[in-house]
Every structure is written in C-alpha cells, then in structure tokens.
Amino acid sequence: MINIIQVILSFGILLVGVYSYRRLRSSYLDAILIFGFVLIGLLFVFFPELSNKVAHFVGVSRGADMIFYISIVFFAFIVMKLYAKIRRLEATITDLVRKESINDASDNVSEKK
C-alpha cells in the first residue's frame, strides 16, 4: 500500500535529483553523490522503519525527528554558504562600480582655479 505522501515525496526527490544532475554534470563524483542522496531519500520514504532503526542507533527515538534535526543543521549551513556568496557578489559589484566611477571622475580643480 502506497500513501499519497510517499508519491509526493518520491516525486520531489527525483525532481531535485534530476535537476541537480543536469546542473552539475561536471564530475562523476557529483553524479555518485546525487545518486546516493536520491537513493537514501527514496529508501526512507518507502521504508520508514529503516529511518527509525538508524535513529535508534544514533540515540534519537523517531526517524522523522532525526531527519528533522539533520535538515535544520543542513539548511543553516546552506543559508551561511548563500550569505557568504552574496557578500562576495556584493564585493565584486562594489569593485566594479568603484573602478568605473574613478575612471569617469571629473576633476575641474585645475580648470577653475
């Protein structure tokens, strides 16, 4: 018996997997990692008892809780990475605007004094 949530989740996982694979086709390592994550995700979706077993092993009572905890840390990490990237981007733009503005500077000190 397959639940609706299992259909939604597996569809989502496959979608993210295919999308990431298309974006990061560059190396075999990426492909293996993505394939691994998709596989683990699908396993947990279709065999929820499996996640419970892993959870018990690491000292969490429910599999869903364990995945919740891991996701929080994971997303906090992603937010940090994205923020660092935004700052780098801002620094690049600043650099660009600064260089251009100095090149185009008008200095009418000599003309008007």
Partner: protein
C-alpha cells in the same frame, strides 16, 4: 605640507539642499576636495560639478562606507598625503579639520577620530541619541578592543600609511566600526580630537534614526562572522 595634498573626502547621497553650502565653506580652506556622489537621484551632481572640486559618481547606490572607500582610492591615485572624511550634510565644522591635521602631524600619528564627547566640546545633543551612542561605544569596544568617547563620527583624518593599509569593505553604515577594526589590525597609532557637531534641522532629519542602529549592529556582527 602642501594644502592641496590634503584630500577632503565628502560622501554625498541626495544632499541637494546643503551640499553647495558645505562645499563652499570647505573651499575657503584651499584643500583638495573630492565628492563621491553615491548615485543621488536629486540635483546633487549638478551642484557639485559647478564647483572646483573633483566629482566621482557611483552608477548605483552602494552606501556611505563604499563611497568613503572610493574617495580614499581616488585620493591615493591622485597622490594625496593626508585624508579627511567629512559628512556632506553640514554637521561638521570646517575649522576642526586643521586641528585634526595638526594633531596627526605633530604627534606623528596615523589616524585621528573626531569626537563630540571628548573634553571641552560644546555639542548639544538630545538624550535618546546620547544613550544610543553610549551603547554603541561599548559595543565597539567589545568588538574591536578600542574604546573611543564617540562611536560614529563622520569627521576623521588619517595619513597615507593608514589610507594604504585600510580597505573599507562594509558598504553601509558599519564602516565606522570597520575603521576601528582596521586601525587595530594594522597597529596604527590613533587619537581622538574634540570636534563640534552642528545639529541642524536638516541634519537631524537626514541623519540616522536611533532604530537604524540595530541594522548597523547586524552588519557588524555579520562582518565578524564572515571575514
């Protein structure tokens, strides 16, 4: 020292009502002046371009910190020996510049901070702003290890050595703290000099709201984490 080797860096963003007067007052002193127009959308640019000053314009608005750094880079390129930052809204008194520069040279220091709270200043300041500035002082101390009597004062003077070793990366208002960090990091010799702040109705309206300090604090903390 040639007076033209002193560069007054004036960051300006939409200062149309006052920029003309501020610059005319400064021009009487015969220093070199560079105005950094941070993509103003009013008439600031046209007013500045008519005066005998250097005019640099950011194509997009980056913030006061970025504008000051652009001014420093520009002045360095022009061979400046001394650097002064001066707010465009007319809150500083031009006669203080000479005092700052004199202290810088006589005591062979690298960096002078203007302070409205150092001894014998006559600045009138309203209560809530005073408290915010006091808190900011001690936060700056916690974050940088430097305790000044004033936390965010736009009037500063520094040497070529300081200008070369400093690069402001905080584009918005956290640059005031970043100056402290960089002074500390580069082991620059610094001092505070009392200066006057003229709180006009314009500068009060244009100036920082107290609430805004939370945003500045956020930028400072992120700066600490990410760099």
């Amino acid at each position: 020292m040639k007076k033209t080797d002193v560069y007054i860096i004036v960051p300006a963003f939409n200062e149309e009502p006052v920029i003309g007067d501020t610059l005319k007052e400064l021009l009487l002193l015969d220093y070199s002046i560079v105005v950094i127009d941070d993509a103003s959308t009013d008439n600031t640019g046209n007013i500045v371009k008519k005066l005998p000053v250097a005019y640099v314009r950011h194509k997009v608005n980056l913030g006061q910190g970025a504008a000051i750094q652009t001014g420093i880079s520009y002045a360095l390129q022009k061979g400046a020996d001394y650097f002064v930052t001066f707010d465009a809204d007319g809150q500083h008194s031009p006669s203080d510049i000479a005092v700052l520069l004199q202290k810088l040279k006589n005591d062979s220091l690298d960096f002078i901070f203007g302070s409205r709270f150092a001894a014998d200043t006559k600045t009138e300041i309203r209560g809530s702003r005073k408290i915010v500035l006091q808190i900011a002082r001690y936060l700056n101390f916690l974050l940088t290890g430097i305790l000044l009597s004033d936390a965010h004062n736009g009037l500063r003077a520094f040497s070529k050595k300081a200008a070369e070793s400093i690069h402001i990366s905080e584009n918005r208002m956290a640059h005031a703290t970043e100056f402290l960090l960089l002074v500390k990091k580069n082991k620059l010799k610094y001092a505070e000099v009392p200066v006057q702040i003229r709180y006009t109705d314009y500068s009060k309206k244009k100036g920082q709201k107290n609430f805004h300090s939370f945003k500045v604090l956020q930028d400072i903390l992120l700066h600490k984490i990410f760099r």
